[in-house]
Symmetry: C2
Subunit: 310 residues, 2 copies
């Protein structure tokens, strides 16, 4: 039995929030269905930001409802505030990913609130979920954007990231995700910060959300694996970016991330060949976008099945 590692697709959320083409709800759901059929159990299917902020997510409710019907899939949605969480609770989405920024400057730019205000909002979200009797049925994750540095503010003190993680743990987070929103992190820093956050998180599982903006994304996954992390966000073809983080192009790409984890001996449950076929379809829907990722170009090694079985 190989140990499990989860790769969670964020393409239909992080991947498309800056692309030129608005996909239809049906395309987004076809994408989710195809990845679920490739073995992907966790997809962040949409974002409950205010519709006037990101036009791509005007159909968030429709996509979230549709995703609930996909066999084998546990859809998640991103929420930036209590109002977004309420919309998710109304629909019955089983996982709600709340995101705030460890960088004060980034949080102000992104959601026009201080980080402390966002922490307070997280407490209200957990209280609302519990008041609705959804505890145990709706999982709430706390994502700390810009945990490894910020294009606006520069350095984000590790002590501040650990402090915020502690607040979120106390507030009832059922997962803590550290995000390198702008691709500033390196493997040494990743190892150090996850080790430090693990000490305040206790039994709460940690997740990693890396961008490959400066080429270290997959190396950072390796470092997080060594720190005990087994949950990784990734985006098909490395699509993605953040509208409030200049130059922050590209999540780590799902195909290479799955290839890495399987090569390291983990079981992801994901069929890379099928993933590459989904990528080819999505590519036809997003003309003019840059598709990253090397395994999709080169194909799997002849030796791959040996590695996976090792």
């Amino acid at each position: 039995m190989r140990e499990r590692a989860d790769v969670r697709e964020v393409g239909p959320r992080d991947g498309i929030q800056m692309v030129k083409t608005i996909l239809s709800a049906e395309q987004k759901l076809a994408w989710c269905r195809a990845q679920a059929a490739a073995g992907m159990r966790h997809i962040e299917v949409t974002s409950f930001v205010p519709p006037h902020v990101v036009a791509q997510f005007a159909d968030a409710a429709e996509v979230a409802r549709g995703a609930l019907a996909i066999p084998g899939l546990k859809p998640a949605v991103l929420v930036p505030n209590l109002k977004g969480a309420q919309r998710a609770f109304d629909i019955g989405v089983p996982k709600v990913n709340y995101v705030l920024s460890a960088s004060e400057a980034h949080n102000l730019a992104n959601v026009r609130r201080t980080t402390d205000e966002s922490i307070a909002d997280f407490r209200r979200i957990v209280a609302e979920r519990d008041a609705r009797g959804l505890k145990g049925r709706v999982q709430i994750s706390a994502g700390l954007a810009t945990s490894f540095g910020c294009t606006i503010q520069g350095t984000v003190p590790e002590s501040r990231v650990v402090e915020i993680a502690g607040f979120m743990a106390e507030a009832g987070a059922e997962e803590i995700s550290l995000a390198d929103t702008v691709g500033y992190g390196n493997p040494g820093q990743v190892r150090r910060l996850f080790d430090a956050v693990a000490r305040v998180a206790g039994a709460i599982p940690l997740a990693a959300h890396f961008h490959d903006t400066r080429g270290l994304g997959i190396a950072n996954v390796t470092a997080a694996v060594e720190a005990g992390v087994r949950r990784f966000d990734a985006s098909l073809a490395g699509l993605g970016g953040c509208p409030f983080a200049p130059g922050a192009t590209g999540n780590i790409n799902t195909e290479d991330c799955v290839f890495l984890l399987e090569s390291l001996g983990f079981e992801t449950g994901i069929d890379i060949e099928k993933l590459i076929a989904v990528r080819a379809d999505v590519e036809t829907w997003l003309p003019g976008e840059r598709f990253f990722g090397m395994v999709a170009r080169a194909g799997l090694p002849k030796t791959f099945h040996h590695a996976a079985a090792a």
Copy 2:
């Protein structure tokens, strides 16, 4: 004082052996001069393969001679056999990189000899160097191509790689380089194989030559660093490939590799901004080639100098 790590440019050799454009000797030397000015001390400047095999290297002697005159640079040349080594000795190149393949099938395709015949040839090269009184003045490195797997043969047993490394150590190699010629390696395998080879290499320094064919190149550098390796081959913009290894596109790119090592706290002596400027020049000489690498796209993080000083 930060610990030193060496990134060695192989673009003028590995990087251009499959490109469509034949660069002039003057362009190759301008490239080397520019990278030396950016702080690169080690460049594999050309290959002494038979001129009819790779037209790009018909000017090998001229390039090697020219490189000897570049201030601050210790040029190296690749040699596939005794005849190539003799040409390098004649010119007075201070470092000769001999390469054979750990994969029997790849060695036969590449140099039409068995691996054992290539090992015997290495002994003749060392003997010839010593007979010419060049010991101590000309360093000989032994590179083991396809150490992490082969597109022709598939799996290359780790025991065989260790055995060949042992033969090369006994034969007088002053450096042993493990090459992932076709981009099959993963960080777990890299760690394991370098640890095993270090045991037979003793005091002989190890080097890593990775390709990023399947996206794990920079993660593999991180793993090799953890195994104690401090010498890394890389190619500007990730240019490169192997004519006898189908699909083996792209060395790890120099810019991201230097960025990784500096971010991890090592001193490479290389100015990444200058490197990116060299890349821009080389790009104008190689129309139609695909230039890889993320730091050149995104720029250095605001936090970079902090990281480098840490």
